[in-house]
Every structure is written in structure tokens, then in C-alpha cells.
Symmetry: C3
Amino acid sequence: MKNYTSLEDIENLEELIFEARELKKQNSAAEVGKGKTLGMLFFNPSLRTRLSTEKAAKLLGMEVMVMNADKDGWALEFEDGAVMNSNKAEHIKEAAAVLSQYCDIIAVRAFPGLVDREKDEADVVLAGFEKYATVPVVNLESATGHPLQALTDAMTVSELKGEKKPKVVLTWAPHPRALPQAVPNSFVEVMQKMDVDLVVTNPEGYDLNPAITKDTPVVHEQAEALKDADFVYVKNWSSYEQYGKILSEDPVWTFDNKKLGLTNAAKIMHCLPVRRNVVIADEVLDGKNSVVIQQAGNRTFAAQAVLKRILENSKK
Amino acid sequence: MKNYTSLEDIENLEELIFEARELKKQNSAAEVGKGKTLGMLFFNPSLRTRLSTEKAAKLLGMEVMVMNADKDGWALEFEDGAVMNSNKAEHIKEAAAVLSQYCDIIAVRAFPGLVDREKDEADVVLAGFEKYATVPVVNLESATGHPLQALTDAMTVSELKGEKKPKVVLTWAPHPRALPQAVPNSFVEVMQKMDVDLVVTNPEGYDLNPAITKDTPVVHEQAEALKDADFVYVKNWSSYEQYGKILSEDPVWTFDNKKLGLTNAAKIMHCLPVRRNVVIADEVLDGKNSVVIQQAGNRTFAAQAVLKRILENSKK
Amino acid sequence: MKNYTSLEDIENLEELIFEARELKKQNSAAEVGKGKTLGMLFFNPSLRTRLSTEKAAKLLGMEVMVMNADKDGWALEFEDGAVMNSNKAEHIKEAAAVLSQYCDIIAVRAFPGLVDREKDEADVVLAGFEKYATVPVVNLESATGHPLQALTDAMTVSELKGEKKPKVVLTWAPHPRALPQAVPNSFVEVMQKMDVDLVVTNPEGYDLNPAITKDTPVVHEQAEALKDADFVYVKNWSSYEQYGKILSEDPVWTFDNKKLGLTNAAKIMHCLPVRRNVVIADEVLDGKNSVVIQQAGNRTFAAQAVLKRILENSKK
């Protein structure tokens, strides 16, 4: 593994999940990262990703340097050929090249603006680091994908599924703010690589990018989708079609015990943070079917597996 | 010691002070924290507490992850059953449970609002972490108490007192902003556990919570209180009775050399930061009776003793 | 080396550069810093300085504690005898003395206000730490100097120069914001200590402090200055004479390939961040004569050499 900017960077998902689960059992330093430095750059807030990735790196013996990109440092310019006479003090060309000399791996979080779809899909911040960094780059959630979360999700399904091929449902839920599609995008992509029956359900107008859902069934009747589900991933996202818009906050999509009753006693997943009683009802989150805390705990080991692969690859 | 959220968590104060003083002599890594992680969450500014606790953890061999809670991460909801459709993105239930998987000890600073006394006394942030975290919780100053500071204060008195039982005076001083009662509360509580004669002096209207002062004498004549004092702890706090209000900025309460002259050449203490020439005059802070720097230096060893106890207890 | 607050602290520049270059070859931990802590305080943004100094300290085995001074902690008062009844919560006397107990070296960044020349030249923040800290102090760029950058610059010239004594030109370039003179000041000072022919060129009104340039030629014709240059350091600064003012944004001073053509195929230097196509044209930064990335990479080793000297000196 050279970079980890999208799920495409995973050569063998099954092996990588196995590695993450082994690391979880050990919970000890592998020393493969000794003398190496992870630089983490945040253009947006982060709790789980920040701390689990820092923890993962330290479990591998790495040093970690964390920066709140725009607050601690300089506003970055990403456009080629820009005449930099306004508020951007540094170009990504220099920033990425310089950081590559201080860090052995650069990890970046940069959310979408949710205004200009084309611009968001260009994923300029992550793509800029990928283009100009001379060390491996890890995606800590970009405008369009969150592959560390997706690997965690795959690991969690892998841990909890039984013998039979599970039915996995990704269901939209309401939310007061316009959220990115990065998490559902990457969840769909990673489930498509696993031996599961995947169904996406959301209100009309909320279909995800068809280039991502591909031939995964997308149904607009939540009840129909939830039938016999073994795993339900609840998540809000803003509209892809009417890009970045909130078309509905209909509480009928909130996931509660009535919805849970439609499933095959499904395990309930969410990437967190979760708006209680808006996205998922207290009764579900506090009930025995919720696995959101175990899922969040797996973030460390997914990150550890990815960093370990990248470090091993760098040594070759 | 399981948690350290209030002075009630200290089983034997004398032993703990002894431990802190031993750690100060060694000033070296005890390795009891090797492979363990301290997560520090700040909802408010901090210099001494932040750096001394980080230093203490590292002296014990721990890894440290620091977050400015609301700025780096997500705004937290603390109310049970809340419908989270406004500006709070994450509930304490998830935040505490998730952090407990990334950290072996969680340390939290959260000041009071000083508007609603009942709400501040519920100490919702610290209590939330204590309730929902599955790892030990350390109080880095909460709405009502600052037990790491109090242990430091007790250690400092212990270092500096002679053979005789000392007279210790806590005196109010003016300040341009409304400050919490956390530091004076915890100082009173810790001194009540020590073999000292404790007196509190403050203007009328500034009496601390009587549930804390209990039978400790509270006198409104500063000069009377200071007579024969061996230690004077100078500190501002806002009114408890007219909750959170500034009732006086009377400079007659500023601690200067004239006040010092009333004492038994007392050692002058303050938790810092201190407003010079408002709370304490330059002539006192720069004089030989001030022990505020030594006191701040002890923060490291008090924190180290507490973290060490918690780590040792976790191993059982 | 006791402190590193200005170039005056360097006893033997040649030896220090040699040390930095040796450290660059090793790129490994010297362990001289084991058990020691570097505290870094930022009153202003930083990317290279922050990360390269943190990296340098860790390569030496040190622990590092980083604070955004005014945001994470308390606003500081620097005036002696101040009655602290406004917005400053802590005096430099306490802050420096306390930090000296938590840290073995204190490193500080504090930019000038560029309004009051006399005040900026007093360099109150750095001078305050130097005066009141009881441990060594490192300048991470102060109001008037940036000696870590200057050592990097000297190291870079030392690496790249051939046998002959090089001609080194410092040229002003336009910029949309008023910038400090710290970098050009320190560059001039460090070059004056090396065996080079140094020339400064800038528009009229932009002459640097004559107490710094001394007998270094200052010419107002850029073309004349660039003739036969082996190194060109491009940098903007605001006016020293009309203190802090922007007198010109004339793009004729932008460094492009036409200007490069006037030189002896000079190596082009800049401290970064650089405003592309305002300070230096893309064609130069992306061309083979630019050494700005190598120069930024050297920051780590210059910082490492300085910290190592200070640590070694502290042991005596």
C-alpha cells in the first residue's frame, strides 16, 4: 500500500481486515514505526479520527505531529498558476513538499463545501497533497470519501456477522445540518467489496452518486429495505442531486425500535457523532443491538493496519 | 484510587503528599505508565494544568493526547433524552464511551457558567464523563472543584511548614472578572484534612458555600484573620450568595506588604495566573515570602502522584 | 550555547553549520535530549518552524509540549509594574518562571505589531522570556530576528556553494501584506559572518535598519545587484523607514526568469511561505534553480544543531 486516499488503495480487503483484527487482539506496539513521524493536518473538526489515528500511530512506535491547518499555520492556495495576492499565504506545492521532509506519512482531513459539486468531486485538498507530497498520504475524510471509517465498518461487520451472508442496509436519516456524502459513499464502496447483500434506502432526491452505488439496489421505501436486515447503518447525508441541499427532515426516517422490529434483530451501526433522537432514537442507541461504540473502538485498529501496511511498503 | 474528580477520592492525604514529594526528588520516569495513554480535554484555557499534567504523564512513561474540546472536536450535549436538532453534534454518552477506548485515563477541564448555581453545582461535564467513561477520570478543574491544585497546595504547605501546627489563612482579593469558586473550595476542603488552623476571610456577601466551609471560621475583618498567619493563600472568587456576581473590587483587599506585616512572616500562596497589583502587589510577589513559583512547580508532582495511583489501581 | 535568541548566541558559525550537516547525514536520535522537555509557545501562526523544531527535538529524544499561547492559555502582560485590571490575566514574570519548571528549553514565536518601531525593537515577548525564564530560550522568530531560519540559510549556502567565494544577493519583492523585517535582518547578519560577497537590493524607502546592514552594500537598482549573483534570496519586507508601511507593490520587483537570467545561474532561496507570482514567479519556483524545498528541509537540522548545543551546555 503506497497511499490510503481511497478504498482503491486496498489490495486485499480480507487480508487487511484480518490484520486489523489481529492488531486489536495484540493491542501492542509493533515497532515498525519506530523513528517515523506521522503528520496530521486538520482543515475541519475531528474527535474519533484525530485520536484513534494518533493512538494507532503511537501503538506502532511512531511520533505524531498534529496541526489545525488553517488555524495554527497558513491558509493554503490549491490553484495552479494563481497570482497569490489575496488571503492565501502558501501554495500546496510548497506545503506538501516541505511537510514531506518533516513527516514520513501525511494524513489530511478536508470536508467539502457542499456548494459546488464539481469542485468537491475534484477533492482539491487531498488531491493536492497526493500530487505534491513525496511521502504517503492518508485520507482522514475528504470531500467525497472516508476510507478509514469504511475499513472500520468492514472490520466491524466482519467481527459480528455469523456464518450466513448478511443483509446490510444503509439507511438515510434526518439531520438539521447539511452533511457530506463521504461516509455513505465509502461505506457503499467497501460493502460492495465484501460478501454481503447490500441495499441503500433513502427518500427520493437523496440517491447517492450513481457512479458509486452502481448496481447496488436503492429503494425509497425504508420498511421494505429493512426487512430481514442483519446490519443497519444509519446515516444522514445531504442531497447529491440537488447538491448539498436539505430536502427533508422528516422524522419518519428517524431510526427507532419500531424500525428495528422490521429487521432480523439487526446490529445498528453509525460512524458517530450521532444526533440522538434525530438520527437514531435513544431506545436504539442505548439498547443491545447498537454496536456504535465497538465500531468506534475499531477505528484505532483499522488505522493501525493501514499505517502498518504503508510503513512496510515504504521500507521496500 | 479509581478516579480523581474530587478530594473525596484521596484515601490517605498524608501518604499521597509523601508520594508527590518523593516523585519530586526523583524527577524520573517510573515506567508504570508505559503503553498507557492520557487523553486531556479542555473546554477552557489552561497553562499550568495543561503542561504540568502532560509533563507528569510523560514522566510516568505515558503517551498524551490533548484536545481543545469544542474547538478541535464537536460541541457536546449533556442532557439525557435530548432531541439533538440544534448546535450540539455529539452526546456525552458516545463521547465518553468512545474516548474510553482510545485512552486509559481521561482528564477534563470545564469551568462553570457562573449564571445558574444549581446547574454549576451539578458539574454536568465532569459528572457526564464520570458516569459514561469506562476508564478513570481526572478533574483538571471543574465547575466546583480543582483537586489537583488542592493537592499541590497541600504538598506546598507540607514542604514549608515547620514543627508547629501552622495557621493558614485563605483571603479573598479583588479581580476585574467574575471567577469560579473551584480553587478556594478545594483549598478549604484539603486544608480541613490537614493538621492546620484554617481561617477564611472575605468581604460580606463573598462567603463560600457553607456546605464546604462547614465549621471553618469565616471572618469579614481581613486584618483580624491575618494575625499570626504562617501561610496566606490569596485568591479572588465571585459571590456564592449572589451567585457569580462581582460585589466589590475594593482595592483595600489587595494583598500588599502592609498586609504581610500583619502576619507571622507568612508564606504567600496563589494558584496563578495572578493579576499583579490587583490581587497581590508586586512588592509581595517579588519579595522573599512569595512561594507561588514553587507552588506551581509542585503541580507536576501532585499530578504525577495522582496518575501513578490511578495506574497502579487499574492494574489490580 | 546558553540561549538561542539571536545570532550573537552562535560562538562558531562554521562549526555549527558542520554539526547541522552531520545531523542531516545521520537523521537519527542522538539521545542527548532523553528525559528533557521542549516547550513551544506560539503567539503567531507557524508551519515549518513548528513542525521542524518539534521534529528536531524528537530526533534528539526530547518530549515536546506545544501551546498556542493566547488561544490555549492566558493573555500575557509584559509591562513591569502594570496594574493588571484589564484583559491580561498573567504576567510574563510568572509565566516564564513557571514554564521553566515544566520545560528544559522554552521556544517562543512572537511577531512584531509593525506599528510602533521602538516597541517592536524592544522585542518584549522574547526579551521577557529571556529575562524571567530560568532555562534556555530559543527564538522561533521574534519581532526583529529569525536566527533559526538564518542558520538554515547559512547551512543551505554552505551545502550548495562551490569552491569560489559566492556572490549572495538579498532582493526585496512585492507582497500584498505588511511583513516583518525579521527574516531579512537575520539573513543579512548571518551572511556577514560568512565568506561571501553580500549585496542587498530594494526600492528606495525599503532600506533595512542600517544598524544591521552596516557596510553591506544596499543598491536600489535590482538589475545591477543581480549581476553575477550565485545565490539570490528573494523576500518581501515592509518599510523600516516609514515603519511597517507598504510603499510599493510594484510587480517589476517580482522575481521571474528574466531576473534569473541576469545572474550567474543563481540558486534561488526563500524562507517560505511564498506568494507565487507575486514574490516569485511559478517559472522560477518550479524551475531547477529553486532550492526553497531543500532550504526548508534544512530547518530540521539547523534546529537540531541548536537544541543539541543548548542541551550539551546545560549538562556542564
